[in-house]
Amino acid sequence: MVSATVDQGVRTADGVPLKIKLQRAERARKLKAIALVLPLFLFIVITFAVPIGVMLFNAIYDPSIARLMPKTSAVLAEWDGQDLPPEAAFAAVVEDMKQAQIEKTPVAAIGKRLNYEIPGIRSKIIATGRQVAKLEGTGPFKEALIEINPMWGERETWNVIKRSSASYTDFYLLNALDYRYNADNHIQHRPANQAVFQDIFIRTIEISVMVTLATLLLGFPVAYLLATLPPKTSNLLMIMVLLPFWTSLLVRTTAWVVLLQTQGVVNDTLIWLGILDDRVQLIFNRIGTIVAMTHIQLPFTLLPIFSVMKTIPTTHVRAARSLGAGQFYAFWRVYFPQTVPGIAAGCLLTFILSLGYYITPALVGGPKDQMISYFVALYTNREVNWGMASALGAVLLAATLVLYFVYNKLVGVDRMKFG
């Protein structure tokens, strides 16, 4: 730069050293740049970074038991987890539940949280809440509680309450990975008939990879055609590529049901042409899922590849040909490497968007095609178990970041180009 070649002592016309003057000019430019970037930066922080941060926090932070059973939590913090807790813990449960009735916070909320760990405990807690209201005096309450429900005489119940009373919990994350605490407070794998999420995570990634590859295989030749045809024809074809892009996702998914079902258009045609003797199952299985998702994702892969191809001068291939390369060799060694940044961008876009699908697999997929977002939506909306929804989201985010890292190592994200 200029300053490197100029002597320290050089001053401008008004006597200020050039270096300071330059710095001032730079600072003004920087401020301007920051001012320009600031709105977008704030927008991203407020609408993207903060919600994701809160979501991740929800996965490990659940103060519900500590808040609803403050006395019990305090007593159990001292308890070593062996045998049954002391009388004070029983008295604290009674006090907490009575307090809950006074404050009109539903005892059911305690039951709901504990029910995640011990199925069926919810109604026992609610029943206990009702009975406790009738208990009088100052105790001892141990016998009384065990009489109300024998579960109060079981160490596991108390262990679960103790574990849940910590505001920071690993329960949701463990559950999202099919692990749980057993009665002895050790982490163990869930039994096979309860373990679902590992499979679903793997399946989600599997389907996304398959859809990405399918869009690449179908999209690359089309993009090549569009890039090489004269604008008049290519514009028309481009509209055909974009047309489904402007149709609602649900409409397109339903259209595939009509096409692919056993009594549907595709089967009818194949039978009529004599290619098939028996109707084949093309929907409510993996085939249907991949076909419908590929259709929806195709423009996302195709467009970045197309716009990168548009920038490749046609002279390159011609030069290679004139130097003696065969048609394929010239394409493969000269043209194709220049499209890689577009392929990288398109594939990454499609892969990451595919990870979030749930309506399409639900409507055209079979029971083995459900993807993880379905469960995130289920826990968020229907079960109002936001801890679990957040934990699943967090695991998906972590898995995506790992894959992105690997992808970066293999392809190099800095080489990626959208056009």
């Binding site: 539903p106 709901k112 109604s123 008939n193 679903i200 409510f284 909306n381 079960e383 109002v384 936001w386």
Partner: protein, 354 residues
């Protein structure tokens, strides 16, 4: 002088009018109520039977909104203290969950001026007033199947009824039907399901037809699957099948045997500043005559038992709550499901993926 007096008094009058208007304004604003339901034909029936007549009778302006059961939206409103939904139509499970989370008001039946004993399911939970009783039933297309299924066991009879069948992708209802088909008396279903062996038994029965089941997710799917001939029989919500018969001329036959009943509930989000008005609306929409009127638009059973005498016999025959259809109906144990839905859904999902 005279003029002045007149002038003063007219000024005073104008001032008083302005004051009165100012005082009246918030009252006017309070006289509107936002009610949220499920849209479609169901919300249309509510509009005709409840919203419009209520607005006419009381002058309250009703703003309708639609949702698809996202309790998350209620939770977000309650947690941020910005309640814009005053009355919400909830499913049984949502109502129980929302009640446990303290998101909706416990119902004071005395304030409604109603007796829960008069309502089917009125005593089942604290935070909701039952509005309709709908059911999951089995149905088939008589144009395609001359001799259709007549009882729930037929779902599991692959010899007599070969081909695909469609069931809801949810353990609810399916586990009950599996046990019935496996010979468990209806009265013992939930006793059996409460044990590990009982759950195994239900899944084992479902195993026998697993390869032949198309699982549905959205309520619109079963009638469509039947109409397209994709499946020979399908479970679904009774109103949806009836709608296809009435409006699309389909020849669907509903098998009422072992229909699984369920409810929809009116609930009031906690912290709403229009609780009294919400109560007034719910009381109106729970009257025997308004509930009976709803059946003119959709074939779901009114929860108010006094409605029955006001419904024509043709419509009555289509309702889940008619005496004839109720003979073998399964009234689900909603406390059992609240306790075990998490565990059973997880297990059901694992089973599907096997």
């Amino acid at each position: 002088m005279r003029f002045k007096i007149l002038g003063t008094s007219s000024l005073v009058l104008a001032g008083l009018t302005a004051l009165a208007l100012a005082a009246e304004k918030p009252a006017l604003a309070a006289d509107s109520l936002t009610i949220v339901s499920w849209g479609g034909a169901y919300q249309t029936s509510q509009r005709e039977a409840f919203f419009k007549p209520f607005a006419k009778e009381t002058g309250v302006q009703i703003t309708e909104e639609e949702y698809t059961g996202e309790l998350a939206k209620v939770r977000a409103q309650v947690e941020t203290g910005t309640i814009s939904w005053n009355v919400v139509d909830l499913t049984t499970r949502s109502a129980l969950a929302a009640c446990a989370e303290g998101l909706i008001e416990p119902i004071d039946w005395a304030k409604l001026g109603l007796d829960p004993a008069n309502f089917i399911g009125g005593d089942l939970q604290e935070c909701g007033v039952p509005n309709i009783v709908y059911s999951t039933v089995l149905a088939y297309d008589a144009d395609r199947l001359k001799e259709g299924p007549t009882k729930i066991e037929d779902i599991f009879d692959l010899e007599k009824f070969p081909g695909k069948r469609s069931l809801q992708k949810d353990p609810f209802g399916n586990l009950e039907w599996a046990l019935i088909a496996d010979g468990v008396p209806a009265a013992d279903i939930y006793k059996v399901l409460a044990t590990e062996e009982g759950i195994d038994r239900a899944f084992k029965k479902l195993d026998t037809i697993k390869s032949q089941v198309v699982w549905w997710e959205a309520g619109a799917q079963p009638p469509q699957l039947l109409a397209d001939g994709e499946v020979v029989m399908a479970s679904g919500w009774n109103g949806r099948f009836y709608d296809a018969v009435k409006n699309e001329g389909k020849n669907f036959v509903i098998v009422w045997d072992r229909q699984v009943l369920d409810w929809d509930w009116w609930a009031i989000p906690k912290g709403s500043d229009k609780v009294d008005l919400a109560y007034q609306f719910i009381a109106f929409a729970s009257r025997a005559d308004t509930m009976a009127d709803q059946t003119n638009y959709i074939t779901y059973g009114p929860a108010n038992m006094d409605s029955e005498s006001k419904i024509s016999s043709e419509i009555m025959a289509q309702l889940p709550t008619s005496a004839e259809n109720m003979t073998t109906a399964i009234a689900p144990d909603i406390q059992f499901w609240a306790d075990n839905a998490d565990q059973l859904t997880q297990r059901f999902t694992a089973w599907l993926a096997q």
